[in-house]
Symmetry: C2
Subunit: 259 residues, 2 copies
């Protein structure tokens, strides 16, 4: 059993070491992380500059590498250059901060899991809703075990990976639910500054608003109620057939007939 591990907080983040310590009992762990924090890198790839792979000291028996690229670069380089065989599972995290709701789209942690999915490997991203560098990851660990054991035993359907968010709370976390991503978005997103030369610059900040806080089947509702959320996420983003795009179908026919 080979487990490929990565993250988006980089090779120095505590979350990935807590994760590795929990995974070593399942098999060989190969960890390939960005050499510095790469939060919110989504599925970004480095296409216009060279990438380096540096082997660093083993950690408790896990082979450790760092890459001067994005989380997805790490997985692609692991698959094509570092590993000589396909890993059994890909595990990402544990992220310092939530990746629930719309944030799955921006998340480098989940970029890793989606990229694992492109190779047909059962893949999961774990996130704790605490951004601090010294976050306590202990509440995550029973859920890491439960999910990883299940993935090893049962696999996952093709094109589906898991987005697991764990609430950071002082109360015991004992419940887990299969949910869906809540609808929501960010507002007031930039703080404006003026540099010493009088020129403005902007820094991303913002407030997240859950558009459906009452809906118990969502990830955000679970996290707000100290429940672990598991969202199965799809690599294929083709929209299901919906009302409201009939005009597109007609347009296709009309354009074609006119030709």
């Amino acid at each position: 059993m080979t487990i490929l591990v990565s993250n988006d907080d980089g090779i120095d983040a505590r979350g990935v070491y807590c994760l590795i310590d929990r995974l070593l009992k399942y098999g060989d762990v190969v960890c390939v992380c960005p050499d510095s924090p790469r939060s919110a890198q989504s599925m970004a790839l480095t296409v216009a500059s060279p990438l380096r792979i540096d082997r660093v000291d083993d950690y408790h028996g896990a082979k450790m590498y760092k890459v001067n690229g994005t989380p997805v670069d790490c997985i692609k380089l692991a698959m094509h250059t570092i590993l000589d065989h396909v890993p059994d599972i890909v595990v990402s995290g544990i992220n310092h901060g939530s990746n629930a709701s719309i944030n799955v789209n921006y998340s480098g942690t989940m970029g890793v899991a989606f990229e694992g999915c492109t190779f047909g490997i059962p893949s999961v991203g774990f996130s704790l809703t605490d951004h601090s560098a010294d976050a306590d990851f202990t509440p995550c660990l029973p859920f890491v075990d439960a999910i990883v054991e299940g993935m090893i035993r049962h696999g996952l359907p093709e094109g589906v990976c898991l987005n697991v968010n764990i609430p950071a709370t002082t109360r015991p976390v004992t419940e887990m639910r299969l949910t869906r991503a809540a609808r929501g978005n960010w507002s007031d997103e930039y703080r404006e500054y003026t540099d010493p030369h009088g020129k403005k610059f902007y820094w991303l900040t913002g407030t997240f608003t859950n558009f459906e806080p009452e809906n118990e089947d969502t990830d955000e509702w679970c996290l707000a109620h100290d429940i672990v959320s598991v969202v199965p996420q799809t690599l294929d983003r083709t929209a299901p057939v919906t009302s409201g795009i009939e005009w597109l179908r007609e347009l296709s026919v009309n354009l074609t007939n006119k030709a």
Copy 2:
């Protein structure tokens, strides 16, 4: 009518000027592009460094801005800082290169469209299957008109944007179809080099393989047959209920009962 335009090839790419020229007849165009090429940036956000907005010369009446960030940064800054009202539609491209199949996930062009979607704005990304800087975008233009006119008249369902890929071919392109993303992936992805100091580095390259070339309902099939592909894409990546995750549901119940 206000049209927000962006791309991932940057403010100097020909594709965006061809697009603007075609859009000016529909209303005011505000264009906010990365200051340099940002291909394959997916929905990446700049979180750890400051962003700058620079107004540049108007182009044929369109207001033009450049940002030292990703395509999604451009849309967020446009929404929060540049525009004083919500634009009616968001249009991205015209990209130099295909964004069909799995490439929609890495695409900065489509990052723009997905980000427009987060604000509830009808959004579309256009791509021509020709990476060259001097690509001929003329075959795209009737399809830009048809799609944009349709979006203005009919809108799009919430959470759905459009991924339009146009084949670069010497034959006349007269047909358009609603399709789905073909299953596929990249292989042989990195070229290995040795620097003057004897240290290896890697550069992304690779060959795309279509896993289902015979399936006529896919974007790749259409492009291979000189047909424009329109894939409706979903912002919400929650997987539809599939077989193969029953174990997760049972696991949730068991964990909860054990607690």
